[in-house]
Each structure stands twice: as C-alpha cells, then as structure tokens.
C-alpha cells in the first residue's frame, strides 16, 4: 500500500511552520525552566531555523546525541534528578527541539507535532489559568495549521491557517459537548511524583513567632465561601484550622488527635449553610466555620474540633457544610486532653508563669482568671504590628513585658502560656478570620492575609470557649480587618491598603471571573457533572446516561455540520433551471446530457435519438442558447416565459 513507502521529504515552508509551532509550544515552559535549559532549547530552535533557511541537511547523529546529553546534564544540575514533575517536563521540553533538529521527512514533522501536543498537556501541571488556556488554544490551532501544511505543502500559508480555522469552527462546539458530557473519572490513577504539589502556601502544623505574619504577606486566596441565606457577622467568621496544644517554649505544635467519622458534640443554635471551595494546600485540614454538623462528605472529625480530609488537599475541592457556632463543645473532655492543655515546659517564660500563678491565687473562678488575663493584656498597652521585633528564649515574657509589640501569634501564644500558668486548660487555634465579600459575585473571599491565631480555654460546665486576645486588645482587627487595626504608616501588602479603591474594584472583578473559571472549568469533576445533570432533570445520571446524551448531542451536531458541508450545486438562475428541466425530461428517455456537451451538440444528439420531437428539441435549445449567450436580447422576461412554457409543454 501507499503508506509503506518512505515518507516524502519535509518541504521548506512546512519546516518554518513546524519551527513556529514548536516555539509556541515551548513558550509556556520558559517561566518554569531553569534559564540554562531555556537557553539550550532556544539555541537548538535557532540552529534548526538556520538549517531550514539554508536547506541544509540535519546534523549528524553524534552531534544530536551530544546535544541530548547536554540537556540531561543541565537538567540533573538544576533538579539533581531526572525523575519527578519538573525534571520530567524539562526533559520533555528538550526532546521537542532535538526531534525537530533531526526531522527530514514529513513523518518526522508529524512526530514533532504529536510531541508538541503532549508537551502542551504537560505544561498544565504548571499553570491552568485563563491566559494559559487561551495560549494553548493558539498553539493547538498552530498544530492543526501545520498538519494542513504538511498534508498539502503546496497551499499558501494563509490557506493552511484558513483550513485550521474552518476545522476549529466545527470542532469547538463538539469539544464543549465532550468536556461537559464525557463521563468523568476522578483521579489519580496512580501515585504522583513527590514534588507534584510543592510550593502550596497555607497554614502549617506548627507556629512560632513570625510564621503567621509571613503568611499574611501573601494576597493569595485560601478559600471562597458561598453562603445560603444570611452570612454570620464578621466577628463570628472564625475558620478553624490546625489546633496547637504542644508547646516547647518556642514553638507551638499540633497534638495527635483521635479521628472519627462523626463529631462528638451535638449541634445546637442557629445554623449557617454554605459551600466552601478550598484551594489546594497539600495538607489535610478542611477549613470550616465552628462547628460543622455531621455529614460532611468524605471528611473526618478530630477530637480537637478540626475537620480533616482523608488525603492531603492537592486539588481545589468544594464541599457543603452546615455550621452551628453556638454549639457547646467539649463538655466531657477527656482527661489527657485537658492535661496536655495545661502542660508548660519547665523554666520557660518565668515572668509570665509568675503572673499566671498570681492570677490563680487572686481568682478562684477560672472564668474570672480569663477575664483578669485579658484585662492585663489590654492595660499592658501592647501594640499590634506586622513587623514585630525578634524574640529570644522566653517569647511570652519578652512580648508581654519588654517589647510589647506583636502580631496575632504573639497575642494568642502569650495568652495561652498565661492561662496554663494560671491553671486554666488552654490551646492555640490557627485558621482564618474574616474575609471580604466580592461585590461582583457575592462570594466571601478568604485570603492567606486573613490568617489568624486565637486561643481556646476550657471551663468546667461550659466546655471549650473561644477567646481572641488580639480582638480583646484591638477590636477593630476583627470587625474591620487588619488594615484598620494596624497603625497608620505601617508597611502593608499593597492590596491590604485602604487607598487603592480602584485597584481593589478591579481585583474584585478579576477574582469573580477567575472564581467562575475555577468553579466551572478547572473544578469541573464527576461531582459537578452529576450536579449539572441533576439541574437538567436527570437526578441520578450514571455514565451510561451521560454517554448516551453525549452520543445524541454529538451526532446531532455532526449531522448538522454534514448537511451544511454537503456539496451543493451552484444556485441556478431561472434560465438554467429551464434548461435543467429539459435535460431531466430527455434523461428519462435515455438521452443524458454530458457535462462537457454544449447545448447545440446535445440537442442534435437528442434530436437524432428522438426523431419525432427533433424540431421541438432543436428549437428549445436554440432559444436557450440565444438567451444565454446571444447579444442583447429584447424583452428578456417575456422570452424567458416563452421558453419556460415551451419546456413545460414538451412531452417526449
């Protein structure tokens, strides 16, 4: 067969198409590749460009091997491995220019295009923003145009592009159908490389002075919330993250907690229903408003009141929750939990410990000790600042008595030390506080800059009670946000500043759009697909129904497209319609008009075949030829009518 023959050589113009497509396909990698590899790829492409320009043959195999080895060496030098996500992607992105460099035939060209498709998929591991999507659409169009150019090297570059766009027009609706209706499988199918999710920001399972003030420099979104009905007041928007009860004098750490399928408390009080879309942070905790009801899908309830996912959150997840902030929790707290919540390392923070002991001696009631401690902190004239001085060996002592400048982790940490010294079980809770409503789409956006630390104390008969020492000293932090609580002139991340209203409104719009993108495009998974089917009136759609619906819609589209593409004759004018009619009548008598036959020749042949009608046929044909080809006909409308009548009356 024709396919087994050697592939024809790559024409020059197609060579340039291929080069441009490869350059486009590699462009999204540049921000993620080490500069040495980007440079190597660019040089290889340039070399290829020169070879194509000069119509020179590809370099010798040995040279190519040398270039490949250089690529591997540079990769290993940058990543210290050739496995894993980044190293794998960088090797792949070296492969494309190398393949291009050795391309001789059209088949090589096609192989390079396939590699390009693969690379484009790979770079989605780096970014999937709207801009990337638009760029990839451009690359895909270039791939299609280059394929067209490879198939018909003779056609003009503009012709290849037009072919690509025509195919694109037919394909985009089909792609949308496939995207929405193709039965989705939830990955992963196998384990991921270890570095697949490196670089996610978020809370951590430990806290030392300074760790949260670092986090709040980031304007990245931590999660988004859509409330059903009235949202809670700003002062109630505490989103619980890791609870830290182990203290070594410097650092607060998470204590191992028991995990259950259902919460240990019984919910009570007003309820808030909401759905929360959490950005991936590569940790287990699911942020939730205190205290979530049972029934959160696929989640575990820790006995420190934290909601946890079964696996680290590595993709954006969306979950629906109902929270009851006034639920009493921890009424029958276990003994070892309370013991841990009282433990202090020996000989640390002596001044705070002494203060706590004094509070204990002066107040019999634990609740009164809490009040007294808060009163002390208010009266100590502590300053709330994003750039607190570094603290030494006894952070609580130094903060409360010497520097008196700190951020929420200083307030919460020192308060808990004080409480433990006063004999009240207490622990630090980290999470997010507040968030702002995006006026464009009405979602509550919570950013890393809303990260917060507060405290929880346990009182007999009342269970765990939230105490926010930052709020006690600076109520505006909670009611109006960080920006109001910080003193004027404090260096702040730009988006937290008050005087950039225009920028803020722009950002609201942009984030509303990108939230829609995240929710409906990037976050479109099996669950979303089922939700959509439910809203379309298919309450329990399974993959068979989806496949059926997909097949029906896709066939309908292809059928419509097929009808539109059906090869049609040119629109005939009235004169040609008359002539056609005559031809049809004669064809029924076995005299077929051949496409190359002139009217006169055909008429003579027909007249010979049907002698009894010879005169009529010749007359009609001459009449037609005069009207069609003759010079200036008088009264064309009347003449045409006469011809039409003659054809109509003609009955062979």
């Amino acid at each position: 067969m024709a396919e087994s023959r050697p592939s024809p050589p790559l024409p020059r113009e197609a060579g340039f198409f291929l080069l441009a497509t490869a350059a486009l396909g590699l462009a999204p990698f540049v921000p993620y590749l080490p500069w040495s590899l980007s440079l190597l790829a660019a040089l290889l492409l340039l070399w290829r460009g020169v070879l194509v320009w000069r119509d020179a043959p590809p370099p010798a195999r040995f040279t190519l091997l040398l270039a490949a080895a250089l690529g591997i060496v540079l990769t290993v030098a940058s990543y210290h491995t050739i496995f894993g996500k980044q190293a794998g992607l960088s090797l792949l992105s070296m492969l494309l220019p190398l393949k291009l460099l050795e391309a001789r035939t059209r088949r090589d060209g096609r192989a390079a295009l396939l590699l390009c498709c693969f690379l484009l998929t790979g770079q989605f591991l780096n970014a999937q923003s709207m801009a990337v999507a638009a760029f990839v659409l451009l690359c895909a169009t270039a791939i299609v145009a280059t394929s067209a150019k490879l198939e018909q090297p003779g056609q003009a570059p503009r012709g290849a592009l037009r072919t690509a766009l025509r195919l694109l027009g037919g394909a985009v609706p089909l792609m949308l159908l496939l995207f929405v209706l193709f039965p989705r499988i939830n990955g992963p199918l196998w384990g991921m490389p270890l570095d697949a999710y490196a670089g996610s920001t978020g809370l951590s399972d430990s806290m030392r002075p300074g760790s949260i003030s670092e986090l709040i420099q980031s304007g990245e979104i931590a999660f988004r919330v859509e409330f059903e009905g009235t949202p809670p007041a700003p002062a109630q928007r505490y989103w619980r993250g890791p609870v830290l009860s182990e203290f070594d004098g410097q650092e607060w750490k998470v204590r191992e907690s028991m995990l259950r399928r259902a919460p240990t408390y019984t919910v009570a009080g007003p309820a808030y229903r909401y759905s929360l879309t959490l950005e991936p942070h590569n940790r287990g905790w699911l942020l939730a408003l205190d205290y979530p009801d049972s029934g959160a899908a696929d989640a575990l309830y820790g006995d420190d009141l934290v909601l946890l996912a079964r696996r680290p959150v590595r993709n954006r997840v969306r979950y629906n929750l109902t929270s009851f902030p006034e639920t009493p929790v921890g009424l029958q707290e276990r003994e070892n939990v309370l013991k841990a919540a009282l433990r202090l390392p020996p000989a640390s923070n002596p001044r705070t410990s002494a203060l706590g002991a004094g509070l204990q001696a002066g107040n019999a009631e634990p609740a009164a000790r809490v009040e007294a401690a808060l009163r002390f902190m208010r009266e100590a004239r502590l300053a709330y600042t994003l750039s607190p001085p570094l603290l030494g060996q006894h952070p609580a002592d130094e903060f409360l008595f010497d520097t008196k400048r700190g951020f929420c982790e200083h307030f919460a940490g020192s308060f808990v030390v004080l409480m433990r010294a006063a004999g009240v079980p207490a622990r630090v809770v980290t999470g997010y506080q507040g968030g702002e409503f995006n006026p464009v789409d009405g979602t509550l956006v919570v950013r890393q800059s809303d990260a917060h630390a507060w405290a929880e104390v346990w009182l007999a008969g009342r269970g765990w009670q939230r105490v926010d020492p930052t709020a006690a000293s600076f109520p505006r932090r909670i009611d109006e946000g960080i920006a109001r609580a910080l003193p004027e002139g404090e260096a702040m991340p730009i988006m937290l500043r008050q005087n950039f209203e225009f920028l803020r409104s722009l950002r609201y719009r942009w984030e509303a759009i990108s939230n829609g993108w995240n929710q409906w495009v990037l976050g479109y998974n099996a669950q979303r697909q089922l939700d959509l089917m439910r809203s379309l009136g298919l309450p329990d759609a399974d993959w068979r129904q989806l496949a059926g619906l997909l097949a029906a819609c896709a066939s309908a589209w292809l059928l419509w497209l097929g009808l539109r593409l059906w090869p049609r004759h040119a629109r005939l004018d009235a004169l040609d319609r008359c002539w056609r009619r005559l031809c049809r009548k004669l064809a029924r008598q076995g005299v077929r008009h051949q496409p190359w036959e002139a009217p006169g020749d055909f008429a003579r042949r027909a007249a010979a075949a049907l002698p009894q009608h010879a005169d009529t046929i010749i007359a009609i044909a001459e009449h037609y030829a005069t009207l069609r080809y003759g010079p200036g006909v008088e009264k064309p409308a009347t003449q045409l009518a006469a011809l039409r009548a003659a054809v109509q009356q003609f009955r062979p």
Partner: protein, 331 residues
C-alpha cells in the same frame, strides 16, 4: 488447506473485496458519480499515531486532574471528527469520466483521458487517483465548478477491448489524519491492437509500383482522407475545420493517383507461424502501409477488408486484427 498464499491469490482477494466495496454494477456507466455511501473513511497511520497520543494525554489528564488537559484532548479529538466530514465531502458527488485516448498496442500502455468533474460549489483539494497496484496516476486540486482532465496510462498486456479496471480515488486532506476513498470501475473500453512485430517485408503488389522502388508515399495531389494526427505530421496538413468542430487533431492525407497497393494476407504468411505472431506481423504491415499511404487490402480467415487507403480504413483493419478470434466468444 494451503497455507501459502501466493501474491496472485492476495491480489484476487483484494480485487473481489474492492469490487464488493465499489457498490455498483461493474463496469459502471459513465460518468461515475461518487455517491456518499461509497465514499469510505478510515484513519491513516498519522491518524492512529495521533489517537495513541490522545490516549496518553487523556490518561495524564485523568491522573493529574487537569481539566484543561481534558479540554485539549477533546479539542484535538473533535478536530479529528470534523476532519472525517471534510475528507468525506471532498469526494462525495464528485464525477469521474474516462475516455479511451489514442491507439494502444498490446505489451505497452494504453491511454485514457480522465476527467474529474466538480459540478458543485466547493473546492476539492488534493485528490489522488491510484491504480489497482497503488501507483499514483493523477493529483489534482479542483476549484468550484471546474473539471480537471489528465491523460493517464495503464499497462495493456493483451490485445482486444480492455477496461481501465479498478481505480481508487482518494484524499487525505485537510490534515492527513483521515483518508477518504472510493473504488470505481468505469466502463471505458480501450481497443488494444496486437503488438506490432515481425521482420517480413511489406508485400507490395507486383507491377508498376515496383518501378518506384521505394513504393510511393503520400503525395500532395488529391485529398484521400483523414487519419489521426501523429507527431511529425506537417501542421499545414492538419484538418483545422475538423479540429474546430471538436473532432480532434486529424491530418489530411493526399495521395497521388497512382498510389501503391499492398495485400496483407493471413494465408500468405509462412506456415507454422503462431496465430498471435501472424496478427503481430499483419499489424506491423498495416502500420507500415498507413505510414506509406498505400492502398491496403487485409485478408483474414473471416473475410476481406478493403482495398482502402484512408485513416478510417486502416483503423478498421487494426480493429479487425484486435478483435480477431475474440468476437466469436462474445456471440
């Protein structure tokens, strides 16, 4: 069962399969129109390579939850599906007609004028016509409402009427991922004359002609008839009137009154000569006498043709030679 399948058997199977796939009574009346049902589509090798790549991309998208990975995979797959429609429409309703062209002699090749007729308002690019062995005969881009005509040559091993046989019309446009094709077997018989061969001298009639020695060739006195134009004929002798009427290039033959005469007799050939060798020799003589403008009489076991000396007469002689012994079977 014989496990060794000979190439001939393979060819015969392929032939039968294609005849079935032609989906028409063969040989087909002309012009052949490619109805949509007889246009087939299937991925090419490049198409299968793309499918494999798409599968890999899909697995990657599932594993890493890359929503845009799904989108890209679906995009390329959709392009492939639309490609099918575009390839298919490039052939659908295309008309093909074949017209035997020129003279053909057994053992060489016969020519046909192949016309691709695009009566519709669409461009049909990159159309290939292949013979049964897969050799490309023709490559054409058809503009809307245009006809492309080209001369194709096919081998003709035997004398007698010969059909062009199974031809494949195919296209891989626009991207080369999908091949659309159709088999045709048009009814366009070409009469193949016997292979001219043999080294016996042209038997000129004894008498006054012998004095001329060479056997007088075409003079310029009297118009004697027309014959097909042959390279080397003077342009002054071309029958322009006939050309203008669309009867093709013909050359006017003039003969002097005392044209030489020859009698080409089957029975006068040496006994023991095989029938095909006799036909070849007679064919050789007919050609030589035509070249010489001689009055020719052909004597075959079935009867006599001639005498005559115009192009039509020589053509009748050649036709008789081509069909000798074949007509009886038809009856």
């Amino acid at each position: 069962m014989n496990r060794n399948v000979t190439p001939d058997q393979t060819r015969s199977w392929r032939r039968r399969l294609r005849r079935w796939a032609t989906r028409a009574e063969v040989p087909e009346p002309q012009p052949v129109t490619l109805r949509q049902a007889r246009v087939y589509v299937f991925p090419t090798r490049a198409g299968f390579a793309l499918l494999a790549t798409l599968l890999l991309m899909f697995i990657g998208a599932v594993n890493y939850n890359l929503s845009l990975g799904y989108a890209l995979t679906f995009f390329l797959a959709s392009i492939g599906m639309v490609h099918i429609l575009h390839s298919w429409r490039t052939l659908t309703r295309l008309q093909i007609s074949l017209q035997a062209d020129g003279e053909a002699f057994a053992g060489s090749s016969a020519h046909w004028q192949l016309s691709l007729i695009n009566a519709q308002m669409l461009t049909r690019p990159a159309i290939r016509v292949l013979d049964a062995e897969g050799t490309e005969l023709l490559y054409a881009d058809l503009l809307p409402g245009s006809t492309h005509t080209a001369r194709i040559a096919l081998p003709c091993p035997q004398r007698g009427p010969q059909q062009p046989g199974q031809l494949t019309i195919e296209t891989r446009q626009p991207l080369g991922w999908i091949r659309a094709w159709s088999y045709i077997e048009p009814d366009a018989p070409h009469l193949v004359f016997p292979a001219p061969a043999g080294d016996l001298a042209l038997p000129m009639q004894a008498g006054e002609q012998a004095e001329n020695g060479s056997g007088l060739v075409a003079g310029q006195d009297d118009f004697a008839g027309l014959r097909g134009f042959q390279p080397g004929d003077s342009l002054r002798h071309v029958a322009w009137k006939q050309l203008a009427r669309g009867q093709g290039m013909l050359t006017k033959i003039f003969a002097s009154s005392q044209a030489p005469a020859c009698i080409l007799d089957w029975h006068a050939l040496p006994t023991g000569m095989a029938p095909e060798a006799r036909l070849s020799q007679l064919c050789q003589w007919v050609l030589a006498s035509r070249q010489g403008g001689a009055r020719t009489t052909l004597l075959l076991p079935g009867g006599q043709t001639g005498p005559g000396q115009d192009a039509l007469h020589h053509h009748t002689c050649l036709t008789r030679l081509a069909l000798f012994g074949l007509e009886r079977h038809d009856g």
